[in-house]
Symmetry: C2
Subunit: 328 residues, 2 copies
Amino acid sequence: MTAVGMAQPGGPEVLRPEDTAVPRPGAGQVLVKVAAAGVNRPDVIQRLGRYPPPPGASPIPGLEIAGEVVALGEGAPAEMLGRKVCALVTGGGYAEYCVAVASHCLPVPDGLSLAEAAALPETLFTVWHNVFERGFARDGETLLVHGGTSGIGTMAIKLAKLFDLRVIVTCGSDGKCAAARELGADHAINYRTQDFVEEVNKLTGGNGAELALDMVAGDYTQRNLDCLGVNGRLVTIAVLGGAQATINMAGLMVKRQTITGSTLRARSDAFKAALAEEIERTVWPFVAAGRLRPAMDKAFPLREAAAAHARMEAGEHVGKIVLTMEDR
Amino acid sequence: MTAVGMAQPGGPEVLRPEDTAVPRPGAGQVLVKVAAAGVNRPDVIQRLGRYPPPPGASPIPGLEIAGEVVALGEGAPAEMLGRKVCALVTGGGYAEYCVAVASHCLPVPDGLSLAEAAALPETLFTVWHNVFERGFARDGETLLVHGGTSGIGTMAIKLAKLFDLRVIVTCGSDGKCAAARELGADHAINYRTQDFVEEVNKLTGGNGAELALDMVAGDYTQRNLDCLGVNGRLVTIAVLGGAQATINMAGLMVKRQTITGSTLRARSDAFKAALAEEIERTVWPFVAAGRLRPAMDKAFPLREAAAAHARMEAGEHVGKIVLTMEDR
């Protein structure tokens, strides 16, 4: 089969199509003939050599796929054969075939294209877990999200609006702010021209937001706390602005705030299965009803994975970038 | 009545007995003829001028008292008159009479002296809320507590052992370590001669503790995170080592840790009443049964409040310092 790999870390150009063996599904796994694979920021960081695949994961990038189940590993449910699914995978998505844990797959409902389906798992699992499970989001609360037009940002907007939160996002241009508002954000702040701390406090009548979903860390950490009110929760899911953060613990105490965070890829299969089941129960009905669709940026053929990465790194995208297999 | 006040911020010597009017209980309050009042670290910080009383609180120091209810404000339960109670108060404890919110009082059971009763509320309310409610402590977990022989530290040891946690404390001398172990700590680390991060990791087989209760902040913040394992919770209740803390957000994410904290004094009356009710239900039976007693350091007459503060600041105490009224 054709997959996209890399001989060494580097720029987008290190991503090259290569011939490699079709993987074999192990116990509890299925083999998916991939129709489309989502491109995510962690893929870029992995390509740069700064995010090695966890033990046992494929060295091929790609954390989410959609396609048809064409073979079953031992103990995988027989009824899955021939089904169209999307799945969260620990790697290997940039390929014509990919192995997925059966319980990490979700069925692709009528009306959802496979390109759209491939664009859902990574951001949906991440946002659901961090905003609702870890951040205890409740309807009526205000959620602050950075990178409002990123894959995570667009999913956070859509999911939060489905569950009746108020959403404030930050973006790097007026155009992106407009795009975020069009996707449902209640407010979008251009962080290049406005102080987001001041704006969030204005927009919340000085009370602050209840919850912030952050992928920047660094000096955003304290600034996020400054955007949050009493009992506010900060959930950090990436450190694009640097891992080191200096915070004021007295302020955190007085406002009884909470800082937490998580990573998804290294979690246990059992955790991911539980999360998939929870999402199938709580979110998938909205997908099936056509009320939740990923914000789609652009699809690239698998062989042009380098161009897809270049687009993500240029930061011009709004929503999800996907790779599609050439024969489909 | 006699109370201890201060004309200006400063060292222990600014604490002086003064004649002042007996306060009048307002709606829902009771007047307590004080038999003993606990001395707490926040009193010292207030004396230094760095912890002003919240709006509406007495300028007289003292956050906990025990004594007899001698008058009732409007709507306070009639049956409280003549009862011996201990109470959490927002100030005014260093006095012969003090007003308390009726629902912030707990009955003094037989066998508990009024000096002991006065030594309970502040640390008990603080530890209960932060370790069990905010920190979600569960039996079998390991709790790390700094200042193992402080009022908070000794209460944390006793409470955690009653609820079947394993307790590791840090102290500043071998003598204090021995005292902490005698009070029930499973392990005590002399932080002056040992690296507590290394020791906690050794003592937990490399897994780290589940929970840390910290009153240091500053550079202890990251060191506490380094003592905690996956899903570990850090609860900060004071910043004796400085408010600014630099932490590694990537490490926090990978270990899915949580940082939170709180202050007690500024909370609403309703919150404190709910906390008192919870404590009466969950902890008070242990007090009534003689299974929970505060670690008592030394009692000083009210007029010697300055000496009591000097003792606390010298850091030689083990457990609680209290002031007792001279005619009792």
